[in-house]
């Protein structure tokens, strides 16, 4: 295959994956930026999105889109429950306590998924079977649909945060908890909303990924380190930063894969982040705070 074809294809695919990672990272970044909570269990929301979609489609015989929607909503509901039971109780604790509690949650959710649905990786047929050709290579049409949906969801989320009263409160809460309280908004309600939005984003990412990556109870851990790194390198609490880094990472990995073995490409894409962390420990696009 001609080399430049490969490069263009990889860049293209990198952007698609970057958008999927951006969905995951955005949810993580929201809970981190607004609640100062590193939610390790976020990875299990993503996993559940995929696993539930697969179960709804294969066991209940639902269509993919209704299965995915139902799975996303279920994950959002779980986020609400988990927030009430655990997250809300650790929000104002030292960061370590939040990490421990959510790490515990991750274990509980993963093992419960294993206990309920088994260890079997399940595949889901993509709802869009068409392929389209870029430079002579067939590219799965479904991935384009995913990319389009991811862009739409990202835009909606940004609009929500930018232009609604609710978004304003959410942005105000971490900086001015007292102010938010005075203006009649309970920080508890803001946190609940944050967690629900975050878990919906992770859930929908998982649901959309199911036809590409399948569904398996351990699939969450494979995105955990990368998603966390994306938001740290992007600048903690900086939503755009997370999205940009996610896309960059996907492109670097894809392009590197054209030159070296897949493992080397994955390792390289992660190793490249280390000097960034060394030079800009608080993130490449970190907002300066006095």
């Amino acid at each position: 295959m001609d080399f430049s074809y490969a490069l263009i294809f990889q860049t293209f695919n990198g952007v698609v994956w970057g958008l999927i990672f951006a969905l995951i990272a955005l949810g993580l970044s929201l809970t981190f930026g607004l609640m100062n909570l590193m939610n390790v269990a976020h990875a299990s929301f993503y996993m559940l999105g995929a696993v539930l979609t697969a179960q709804f489609v294969t066991r209940l015989g639902l269509g993919f889109w209704s299965g995915a929607a139902l799975a996303t909503i279920s994950v959002g509901g779980l986020g609400m429950v988990v927030n009430r039971l655990v997250l809300a109780r650790v929000v104002d604790s030292p960061p370590v306590i939040g990490l421990l509690a959510t790490a515990g949650l991750l274990l509980v959710i993963e093992s419960s998924t294993l206990a309920t649905f088994g260890a079997v990786p399940v595949s889901v047929d993509p709802p869009v079977d068409a392929t389209f050709s870029i430079f002579g290579v067939d590219y799965p049409g479904y991935r384009l649909v995913v990319a389009g949906l991811a862009v739409a969801i990202l835009i909606v989320t940004f609009l929500l945060l930018r232009f609604t009263r609710f978004g304003l409160w959410m942005r105000a809460a971490p900086q001015q908890r007292e102010l938010a309280l005075i203006s009649g908004v309970s920080s508890g309600r803001i946190n609940t909303a944050t967690v629900i939005i975050g878990s919906l984003l992770a859930g929908v990412a998982g649901a959309l990924v199911a036809p590409i990556a399948g569904a398996h109870f351990q699939m969450g851990s494979s995105v955990l380190a990368v998603a966390f790194t994306v938001i740290v390198v992007g600048g903690a609490g900086n939503l755009w930063g997370a999205v940009v880094i996610a896309i960059l990472l996907g492109v670097v990995r894809g392009v590197a894969a054209a030159f070296m073995t897949p493992s080397e490409a994955e390792i390289l894409s992660l190793v490249l982040l280390l000097p960034v962390l060394l030079l800009r420990p608080d993130g490449i696009l970190a907002k300066a705070r006095s």
Partner: protein, 416 residues
Amino acid sequence: MSRRLMINRRKALQGLAAVATAGSVRVAAAASSEPIVIGLQTELTGALAHDGGWGKKAAEAAVAWQNERGGFAGRPLKLVVVDTETKVDVGIRRLQQLLQQENCDFIIGSGHGGIGMASVPLCRDAKVTYLPLARTDGITTELGNPYSVRIVANSTMGASAASKWMVDSLGKRWGMVLADYAFGYSQREAFTASLAKAGGELAQAIALPVNTNDPLPYLLKLDRSLSGIVMAILGPDSVRVYPALRSLGFGKTPKITVSCTQNLFDIVRLGSAVEGVYALDEVPWELDDYPNPAFSKTAFDRIGIGSNGRAKDGDDYVMLPNAIMAWECTELLRMAVEGARWKTKADNLSLSNWLVSNPDFALSEGFPQGGFSVRAADQQAFIDQYILQIQGGRMKRVSKVAGATTVYPSKDLVQR
């Protein structure tokens, strides 16, 4: 009835063991009524939980069946199952539990390569016969010893069984998609050698990182002129790789899975993405494809497998090779215990001497897969293997490769 009793008793014993300090040593009475203890070191949780679960079902069914037939030389069997959690360190700890606390006479070992490799030397030191379900070469090459007996086919045997058929039937130039893992590399090594020997070549190999989210960009490099692709990847990755291959236009290219990897996930449910895929397996999937379906039916019925090779309850897919092999391990032990007049663990060496001196274990209810013999040099059995193909959502038998054709040279590892 007797099985339920036995399980209750096992539970009670386990409870006792949990309460008692670990150091308590049971008196090893040689009385003929004393049960013979078989340990099953298997994966009930973690990544291989599904496979281990079927190993457990099969071992329990086999022990119940043997007990109904009078046990081993009239002595009842007791099965102790431990869960390795698919982790090497836990697997070793559980093995020590079987060896030192449960005082097992024989152990049917894990299907996990790393756990198998770590366990073989420990069983040798404890002088307890170990029958691994792991297929890593090293178990009967570098680690071969009188206390380890393997009846599953290792990577080298699998590759040599498949390669001749692949070159003769499908073509000479093969590519391979492998897990970037010890397992994948041993398959690559084995196929490189055996394809060359069969007159073909392994022209390209792409190693995929385990649990990669998206194999598509890596598969893009696959050569389009290959005669076919050898698939040496693990369960969760398979679910991604087959659809990705199809979307890259490799849907029609022949593909063959190696060494039970087709049993690590519900392959036939991948539908059109896997239609026509070949599989190398130690056992056929459907009852009618077995050399003697009447023999196989006993194992199928008792383990809970329907005649289509899927679970009777719930239509779950089955880790068939591990299930059938666990069944056969038990029968092998019965014949050896009775043939070698085995009384206690102290006789384990003479038991393995009897095993290798017995020329052939013939097809029977106890050995539904086919007959085999155990080689003296490394105590590796050479079983028949099968080439299967997915046809219309069913895994059908295409060809059988005789075990004798997969024999490879070995040093005399087992000094007697």
